[in-house]
Symmetry: C6
Subunit: 78 residues, 6 copies
Amino acid sequence: MLDQKEVWLNTLKTSTPQEGFELAIKLSRMGVKSTQPNIEILKSLRPKYANDALGLTTASQVIALNFQTVSAANNYWK
Amino acid sequence: MLDQKEVWLNTLKTSTPQEGFELAIKLSRMGVKSTQPNIEILKSLRPKYANDALGLTTASQVIALNFQTVSAANNYWK
Amino acid sequence: MLDQKEVWLNTLKTSTPQEGFELAIKLSRMGVKSTQPNIEILKSLRPKYANDALGLTTASQVIALNFQTVSAANNYWK
Amino acid sequence: MLDQKEVWLNTLKTSTPQEGFELAIKLSRMGVKSTQPNIEILKSLRPKYANDALGLTTASQVIALNFQTVSAANNYWK
Amino acid sequence: MLDQKEVWLNTLKTSTPQEGFELAIKLSRMGVKSTQPNIEILKSLRPKYANDALGLTTASQVIALNFQTVSAANNYWK
Amino acid sequence: MLDQKEVWLNTLKTSTPQEGFELAIKLSRMGVKSTQPNIEILKSLRPKYANDALGLTTASQVIALNFQTVSAANNYWK
């Protein structure tokens, strides 16, 4: 479980689409962190998917899902 | 099947996006629990995906899907 | 193909989010059953994914998708 | 490519949610058929995923996605 | 990258749901082509997933996602 | 993490659906790049999924998800 005391997500609003994409990346990482909170283990696993074609594509897929949410929250920055 | 007597989901409303993310994590876990209700088996499987790069990314993907639902239910906390 | 005579889905409306989640579980199982209607084979496969980390996460993913549909159908129980 | 002369999808409207679920199953199968139009090969592959836990869950996932579309098209049968 | 000079996608509008499904198939193939533009290699890979149960289901999944987009663009042909 | 100084995403608006599809391809690649920023490693991995049937289908899936976002942002170019 994520540390419930630390505030890391106050709003889904961002100034630009690019900042929204960065937020989507952060949400994807917090999803991973909620399952494996141990930073040392996470660091040790990183090379495994960062050097693996399917691992990278799957990571991009999670970001795409979270970017859908952030984009809707910002009314697509219209 | 989940224990239908225990009430664990009264509302999709949360005060903040971060609490919404926590709810998305809970929904993802209840999805797993509905298929494997035995807590001991679940605990024994945990190291398997919590130490596996693709397992962690897939877990993050389920959370992303549930966070889409919770975010829409909260009108993106606008 | 599912038995078209048996009525199992009259409405997507439920009283509470928790009942909606139960319906999402049912829809996920009916999706499986439509591909493999043989109950004995289904039972024999159950231990295989119920004791497999990735199998459980994927099952939770299907439930998350169906819960999106049920939640929208209930206007997120607002 | 699907045979463009045969009409198999006139409308996304159905009378009931259950018929909508049947249509979602059909769309999922037509997606498979568009990639592999050879019925004999399709039949020969069927036991492979119909007896495989992950194959069945993935099939249910495709149905869930198509059921989202059909449900929206029917305004969730409200 | 796709050849940016060739115009292949003028509109998401189609006359019927079936034509919309055909467009979803085309979008799925253009997604593949954007990663592997070499037609000869694509042809050589085709038997690999067209004769593989999981490969076919995954192909159907991509079509389902694109059909969601095309259906929304056509207001579900209401 | 992506280089936050370089501006690469000013808007989700595009003139045509085809340009929107190109943007979806770009978003998918930036998702990969955020996990593996090293261009040399990315280039070395490319043949691996560009010549792999499942890798190509998964890449097309990420593009489909991002195309959903871009299409909504452009009101489906209606």
